[in-house]
Subunit: 209 residues, 2 copies
């Protein structure tokens, strides 16, 4: 009974006691993070990998959106192949730049998080640095999603007040690429929000009651 | 000498010791937060008030941007007064909605933070709830700023590839209002980033070394 009670206290309070394993046993990697910080490090790695994946997918889908159609032009020969591509709009260029940074950061932070998962001693310090970059990137990715979404909406619906005609009736495939890319980057923004909330939850759990 | 050393330990370790004042002295309001949490609660209140102010200013500037000019129209009498106002663009409507929510939240959270400043015992719990809303609002305000900025840039420069003509050469005053409003909301986004980073810093300072 006494040893069971000791094990119980070991689960709740992660500080080293006389019954906890000595630091020499850290070669048995997987167990310590699972008991000391719960599910957090694994969810952290998964979310960071999702951030990397969403950044990569949205950049690739946006960059490969080029579409060429025969359209009317105001000078002879009056009909010619005209291309639509993302680099025609500054908002889409900003989107590609922001999501590239987010995807690259997702890759780096996934690797560092896996390293922290194997060596849990440095986990809190790494975490508190990462969460600041997460917040900054959330602002950048959300604004890029908003800018690209705002411009894409004009392309989809047009604006009768300013006589901006819609382009998606001609360049349907281009617009599907843009829409998919914006949707994936919205998913990336939500992943960043979850990462920040998870980090705050994990940090505030370590405050003694 | 001994009493000076006691005072020193009182500053560093905020847990109640035998030399710390008993809880009955909490009527003397201002001193406890200044010693237990440093400059944080005051900066917190100031930043939240700045968030409220920037939300209010950007919404008011955006809503009062209506401008009427005599312009060419494609049907008789061919010249007529045409108004430009924010409600002609879905991006600007989203902007007004998002910044209204941010300003209202800034007002509420300023009042609650002032209450927490006077009663520091409940400060940590309030803080960890507020920081989640801060992160969500950061995403919303940043995306609204991006959307309005992206559409305003088309209004300013036009887009030759899609034949979207610029409108700011005609509606200059309207565009100055939009630009000012987007700039103030960008300031509001930066305030939200600072609030989140400050909260994380304040929470992680409470973790025992």
């Amino acid at each position: 009974m006494a040893s069971a009670a000791d094990k119980e206290s070991e689960k709740i309070i992660p500080v080293p006691t006389s019954t906890s394993p000595p630091p020499e046993t850290k070669g048995l990697a997987a167990a310590p993070p699972a008991t000391s910080a719960g599910y957090f490090p694994v969810v952290n790695v998964v979310l960071r990998f999702l951030l990397f994946a969403s950044g990569l997918v949205s950049v690739v889908v946006m960059v490969t959106s080029k579409q060429t159609e025969i359209t009317q032009i105001p000078f002879p020969p009056f009909r010619a192949p005209v291309s639509a591509k993302f680099s025609h709009s500054p908002a889409f260029i900003y989107f590609v730049a922001a999501l590239s940074v987010a995807g690259f950061y997702g890759l780096i932070s996934t690797l560092v998080s896996i390293y922290a998962l194997l060596k849990p001693s440095c986990s809190t310090k790494i975490l508190s640095h990462f969460v600041i970059f997460d917040v900054l990137l959330l602002g950048i990715v959300a604004s890029a999603t908003g800018a690209a979404g705002g411009v894409a909406y004009i392309g989809l619906k047009g604006n009768t007040h300013t006589a901006w005609r819609k382009v998606c009736n001609v360049y349907g495939d281009f617009c599907r690429h843009i829409g998919g890319s914006v949707a994936v980057s919205l998913f990336g923004s939500i992943v960043l929000v979850l990462l920040v909330i998870l980090s705050i939850h994990s940090i505030s759990k370590k405050i003694p009651k």
